[in-house]
């Protein structure tokens, strides 16, 4: 029996050649409770989700732009951008549209439901490097969701930034998200401009394409400011950020100071399943936040 190979228990084999730090946490998920949820529009809800264990909640840190894998045991697991402030640690907010099996199920759960959370995963917006510059936040439709976390970070450190603009476009007024926060944002000296494709009886704001507002903003700034002193975050449907990033490039904004967040359907979030690959780049590891130069070099990103 001397030739019987000894079984190596990977989970217990700390310090051996085969053990890698973190290996035992691969499938670990935090238990988290949906403490509150409410409708923002007919199709989107805001979920406030708190990591249950107070110690874990405090230790949970993320950076604006990162995502988590949210799991409903027995239903499924999917990636979602964190839409809350990073200083709130494991007290998280997500804005989720009911479109698939799992999100439609989420739509029906009650306050107090326990879900699983793993992460945070992926790259983030470089909010710290942006200090000292003017900030352009440009969102189309659901793009406001991943953009809200860096926005919170800018608001919390308002004196570190120069001029801050939010340009937000939606299809129609009823689809606008976070309407109850616009007045609060403005109190931080934020220029908020909203445009819709199609107005309704109550709408008195501009109607048209987001690029029209952006053009006005570009005309009103100086090329020098765009070249030297501005960062932009652009989130929205690929066709929108393609046009917007091209306009900003023409206005002089360096591609390395322009960030987008790509959406793909990760099944693992850990660079293993390949489902989120763009060309051959893992959106979950090298993204979801990319600068525009990187996106230009990704095949089939846009």
């Amino acid at each position: 029996m001397d030739n019987k190979l000894q079984f190596v228990d990977l989970a217990a084999s700390h310090g051996t050649r085969v053990h890698k730090p973190g290996v035992e946490h691969f499938e670990y998920s935090y238990k988290a409770e949906i403490t509150n949820l409410y409708s923002l529009t007919a199709t989107e809800k805001l979920y406030q989700i708190q990591i249950v264990d107070p110690g874990e909640r405090k230790k949970f840190t993320f950076l604006p732009g990162q995502f988590v894998m949210l799991e409903l045991p027995g239903i499924g697991e999917a990636p979602f951008s964190i839409s809350s402030s990073a200083i709130r640690h494991g007290d998280l907010e997500f804005c989720i549209r009911g479109v698939g099996k799992m999100t439609n199920f989420l739509n029906r759960v009650k306050r107090g439901t326990t879900v699983g959370i793993s992460g945070p995963f992926g790259t983030h917006f470089p909010v710290e490097n942006m200090a000292g510059s003017d900030i352009l936040l440009i969102a189309g439709g659901l793009g406001i969701v991943p953009l809200r976390s860096p926005l919170m970070s800018v608001l919390e450190n308002r004196s570190s930034y120069g001029r801050v603009d939010i340009i937000y476009g939606a299809r129609e007024p009823l689809e606008l998200l976070f309407t109850y926060q616009y007045e609060m944002w403005k109190q931080f000296d934020i220029n908020l401009e909203i445009i819709v494709d199609k107005g309704d009886d109550k709408w008195s704001g501009p109607v048209g394409l987001i690029t029209e507002i952006l053009q006005a903003r570009i005309d009103n700034g100086t090329a020098n400011d765009f070249r030297k002193n501005t960062y932009a975050i652009v989130c929205g449907p690929p066709v929108m950020f393609k046009f917007v990033c091209e306009m900003l490039t023409r206005a002089g904004l360096p591609m390395e100071k322009m960030f987008v967040s790509l959406e793909r359907r990760m099944h693992c979030g850990r660079g293993k399943c390949c489902r989120c690959n763009v060309g051959s780049t893992y959106t979950c590891l090298e993204g979801p936040v990319f600068d525009y130069w990187t996106v230009l070099n990704l095949k089939e990103a846009i």
Binding site: M1, N3, D9, L10, E71, E77, G112, R264, C268, G279
Partner: protein, 346 residues
Amino acid sequence: MIFKVFQASEIATLFELLSVNRIVGPIEKGRDVNDSPLYDFDVVYDFKDLALDYGQTIHSAKNYFLPYRENLCTFTFEDDAWEKDVDFGAYEAHVFFGLHPCDINALNKLDKVLMGNNYPNPFYGAKRSNMFIVGHSCTPTPSCFCHSMGSDSALSGFDLFLTLMEDEYFAEIQSSRAYHILENMETREATHRDHLLFRKASSRKRSLFKCEVDTSDLTKILDMEFESEVWRKWGGKCLSCGTCANVCPTCYCYGVEEEVNMDFSHASKVKQLYSCNLLDFAQVSGGHNFRPESSTRLKYRYYHKHRGFVEAYEESLCVGCGRCGNACLAGITVPEVIASVRGGEK
């Protein structure tokens, strides 16, 4: 490295010594229309069944360390609460007897993705840590192109590698475990003559390849030919069935689904190896599909294997085993696709 030599007939002794463990090796599964043998990896109980002279197996051995279906966790429900239980799915060590260099190199490549620094995967790692690998020299089949991919020789990733030279085996020993097992057999030190015979066997093998892939500048050429009509031609043939990924020793993509049992007491999260050629591979919630055409999916497969992986690890993810081409019912082979993408450069 330590080298030893033993009589070819002694290999049966080696098998017996290792047979206190579960041994996986190539066996003949049946015969094709031309009465040629068809091989696959399976558990081997008797040395007589071990077909060490196999050309290529239909599938790789990956089901033993990267199962086609695997339980990632089990949930237990009680009232509104749930508990999650994770089992990495490794319970005993396995001996892999007779792996060719292509399959050993495939494991080394998988290690880079699955056991590298980014979220090392314990489901794979637990099985990988419990493999004893006896490699075996091979004779190239007409569809083998491992030499083009730099995978015709295994430099690491095995315990013991055996090269048949005349009536003796030349043994490369890479673990103390293998060294101690060989102590139970008649072996002798390798002499200068053996070293020369080993090199002769290697160069003879190199002369037997019938299939070539030109990989020079391939990453750049794939970028240049991204919009090429050639992809549409191959896409038109591709059946989007995923067979190539199933037989591939390095395909590791997967999908995850959760299942609830009938009385709602348990649920499980199941990983299923997938294929980037399947229609819904890049489909996202709401129905948008980033690669709706078979041509873009087939192109992505080549992109990942021959460009993305090269960019990340300076080597291709393809080992040139030729299994995908042999298994493809549409007759699509890697050497032909790459030659046509390269176009009329010669």
